[in-house]
Amino acid sequence: MLASTTLNKKMTSYRRKVSGRVKQYLPHLSDLVSGAIYRSRCNLFRLREMTGLAPKRADAEESFARFITDAEKHINALPEDYLELFCLSPLPNNQFFAARQAELDMLQEELERWQNGKFTTTALIGERGCGKTTLLNLAEQQLYSDYSIVKIDFLDTETIFEVDVLFEFLKQKLAHTGLPAGCQTIDELEARIIELPEQRVFFVENLQQIFLRTTFGFDALERFLLFVSRTHQKIHWLITCTIYSWEYFAKVLNIDEYVHRKIMLDTMPRAGYEEIILKRHKASGRRLRFKPNPEITNSRRFRKLKTEKERQTYLKNLFFQQLSELAMGNITVAILFLLRSYKRFSHASLTLPATIDFNPSFLYQLPAEEHFTLIAFLQHDSLNEEHHALIFHQDVQQSLLLLNRMANKGYLEKNETGYQIHPFLYRPIVRVLKSDNIIH
C-alpha cells in the first residue's frame, strides 16, 4: 500500500515535471518548426530561381507592376519636409554633399593644369542620377568662382543629330553670355571664340543627347568634338555623359582621345550610401530603426546578438549592403529604394526593413526586341517614337506600339521629350544586358 502511494506520488511528480517542461519548451518548439518551414520555403524558392525554374514571367511582371504602383503611393505618403530632404534633383550646395570628394579633387587638379596653359578637357561619366550635376554645382561654388561660367544642357531639347540644329541650339544658349553674337556658321563662332581676350569655363551636360544611333546620327557629335578641340585654349570644357553612351562613342568614334581626363562616377562603397542617406535623415530629426523579417529573426547569427544596439547595427549593415548592390553607384536609385521600402513612419521615427523585397528576374525573359530597345535607352537616355523608329529601321507606328507596351508594363516612363527607363529598373537592366553580351 505504502509502495503504491509512493509510486503514485512519484508518477504525479514526474507528470508535473514533464507537463512543465512541455509547457516551457512548446513555444520554442513551435518557433523552431515555423522557422524551419519558413526557411525551407525560402530555400525552395531560391532553388527554383537558381535552376531557372522560377515562377512564370507573367507572375513576376505582375509583382513588379505592383511594386511600381505601390511605390508612388508609398512615397507620396511621406511628409513633405522629409521628401524635400530626399529630393531627387541635383544638390544646389554642399549641405548634404558626401562621398565624392576624390572627384572634386580631380577637378581641382584639372583647373590648375588649365591655368598653366595645358589641354584639360574633362569628362564626367556616370549613369543618370549618379551625381554628375551635383558635382558640377559644387565645383562651380568651390573652384570656379573667379571665372565666368557658361552652362549648356543638351537635355533642354530633343535629341540633336544635325549640325545646323546644333549650331542653332548653341547660338541660343550663348545669346546672353557676353560671347560673340550674330555668327552665321559654327566655324565663324569658333573663330570668334579663339580671338576672345578672356578665358571661360563651359559646363556641357548630357553629351549623349547630340547623337542618334543611325549612320547619319554622328554628324552633330563629331562637329561638337571638333569645336571643343579647336577652342580648348580659351575654354575649360567640363562635359558630362552617361556611361553606356560614352563606352559606345569610345568604340566607334575613339572619343577618349578628345579628353584629357575621364572622371568615372560609376562606383561607390557601401559607406558612401550610408553617409549620404544618414546625413539627410539626421536633418529630419527622426530616429532610424530597422525591423528584421522572420528569416533573419530565426537565423542563428541574429539570435546570438544580445543587445538591441548590436542587432540594430547588424540590420543596418544588411540594409545598406543590399542597397549598395541594388544601386551600384547610382545615388538616385538608392534614394528611391530607401523611400519605397520604409515600413512605418511617424513624427519621431522611420522604420526600415533589413532587406528590400525586389525581384526583377523577369527581365531575363523579355523578348529580344525589348532588350535591344532597352540598350538604345541606356545609350540615349531619352528617346521618342520617331527617333526609335529611325534607330530600328521601322515605321513610327511600330515603335509607338512597342514603347507604349513597355511603358504600360512599367519598364519605361514618359517624360517631356519622350520615354526613359524607369529608375527602379536601371541597374537590373544593365545586369541583364551584360549577360546578353550587348553591353560590356
Binding site: 535552376t51 566607334v252 553580351n437
Partner: protein, 336 residues
C-alpha cells in the same frame, strides 16, 4: 556574375542531393535486400550482413571456399535483378533528362554562359549512362569486375564484327567530345551543311541550318572530313557582307557609310574591330570594286539577321548619299 553563381550553386546542390539520395538508397540496403532471397538459397553459408552487396561479399577475406559459391550465385538472373535494372534504367533516364533540361533552360538565360553550359551536356550524357551501366552491372546483377570485363570483351568482339559502322560512330562521338573540334552551340560547316550544333550524340552530330532544317551527320563522317568552326566556343563570330561597287564611286564616303552601317546595328559586337576592305576584280572584261565589310555579331544566333541588316543599311545609305543609283545597282552583278 551573381546569377551565374546562383546557377552553379543550384547545380552543385542538385548533384549533392542526387549523391546523398543514392548513398541513402545504397546504404539503406534496398539493393542488398533485393538480393537477399538469392542469398537465402545458400544453405551452408553464414548469412551476410544486410547492407553488404553481393559484390562486396565476394571480396570478403573468406578465402576461395566462400568466393566460389558467391560467384556462381551472381550468374543467376533473378527477378529482383531485372526489376532493379528497370528501376535504375528509368532513374538514370529521368535524372539525365531532367539535368539536360535544367541545363538547357539555364543556358538560355545568358548569352555569355550559353555555350559554356551547353558543352557540359554531351559529357553528362556519356558519364551518366556509363555510371548507370556500371551500377546496374555491379549492383543489380552483382557481376564481379572480372566477369564484367570478360563479358564486355566477348560481347565487344561479337558486336564489333556485327556492327562496325555503329562502333565507328560511337568512337567518333567519343573522339569529338574529347578532341573538341566544335561544341554544342557552335556554328560549323561540315561538308555541304552549315548550321548551329544542337547535339553531339553517340551516333551522330545534329545541326540546325539557317533554314531551320535538322541535319544528322554520322560521327564517322564528321571525323573523316574537315570541319569549319565559325565561332570556336565564343558567342560572337565574324560576319562578312560583300558589295560590288562601280570603280568611280566616292570611296572615302562609301567606306565611312559601310563602317557606320555595321557600328549602328543592334547585333554588332563592338569589342572586336569592324573592318572595310576594298579589292579590284575583273568580271567579263569589266573592272568592279568588291567591298568586304567585316564585323562581329554579339550572338551567333543573329548571324543571318546581322548580315541582312548590314546589307540593307549599306545599300539604302549609298543610295541616299547619291553614291549609287538603281540602274548602277542592276548593272553591278558580276555575272551579267
Amino acid at each position: 556574375m551573381s546569377k551565374f553563381k546562383n546557377y552553379v550553386t543550384g547545380f552543385v546542390f542538385l548533384v549533392c542531393v542526387g549523391v546523398i539520395g543514392w548513398q541513402l538508397l545504397m546504404g539503406g540496403g534496398l539493393v542488398a535486400q533485393a538480393e537477399l532471397p538469392a542469398e537465402a538459397d545458400v544453405a551452408a553459408e553464414p548469412a551476410p550482413a544486410a547492407n553488404t552487396s553481393p559484390a562486396q561479399q565476394e571480396s570478403a577475406p573468406d578465402g576461395e571456399e566462400t568466393a566460389e559459391p558467391s560467384l556462381q550465385k551472381t550468374w543467376k538472373i533473378t527477378f529482383g535483378g531485372i526489376v532493379w535494372t528497370i528501376v535504375f534504367f528509368l532513374a538514370a533516364l529521368f535524372i539525365i533528362r531532367q539535368l539536360t533540361h535544367t541545363l538547357e533552360r539555364m543556358a538560355e538565360f545568358s548569352t555569355q554562359l550559353r555555350l559554356t553550359i551547353k558543352r557540359l551536356i554531351p559529357m553528362i550524357h556519356i558519364l551518366g549512362w556509363a555510371a548507370a551501366a556500371y551500377i546496374i552491372a555491379t549492383n543489380a546483377f552483382a557481376l564481379p569486375i572480372q566477369t564484367l570485363i570478360a563479358i564486355s570483351a566477348s560481347a565487344g568482339i561479337a558486336l564489333g564484327f556485327a556492327s562496325q559502322d555503329i562502333l565507328k560512330n560511337i568512337f567518333g562521338g567519343i573522339m569529338i567530345v574529347l578532341d573538341r573540334p566544335f561544341q554544342v552551340g557552335d556554328k560549323v560547316e561540315i561538308g555541304s551543311h552549315y548550321g548551329e550544333v544542337l547535339q553531339i550524340g553517340l551516333r551522330s552530330v545534329r545541326i540546325v541550318t539557317p533554314d531551320d532544317n535538322l541535319v544528322s551527320i554520322p560521327n564517322s563522317e564528321v571525323m573523316g572530313q574537315s570541319v569549319s568552326n565559325a565561332n570556336a566556343g565564343e558567342s560572337n563570330a565574324q560576319v562578312v557582307s560583300e558589295f560590288y561597287l562601280p570603280p568611280d564611286i566616292e570611296l572615302i564616303q562609301a567606306k565611312k557609310i559601310a563602317y557606320r552601317a555595321a557600328a549602328v546595328s543592334r547585333y554588332v559586337f563592338l569589342n572586336k574591330p569592324i573592318t572595310v576592305i576594298v579589292k579590284n576584280e575583273v568580271h567579263q572584261g569589266r573592272s568592279l570594286l568588291k567591298m568586304r565589310l567585316k564585323a562581329y555579331v554579339l550572338d551567333i544566333r543573329y548571324e543571318a539577321l546581322f548580315a541582312s541588316e548590314m546589307t540593307e543599311t549599306v545599300i539604302r545609305e549609298f543610295m541616299r548619299a547619291g553614291l549609287i543609283n538603281t540602274e548602277q545597282l542592276a548593272q553591278l552583278n558580276p555575272a551579267s
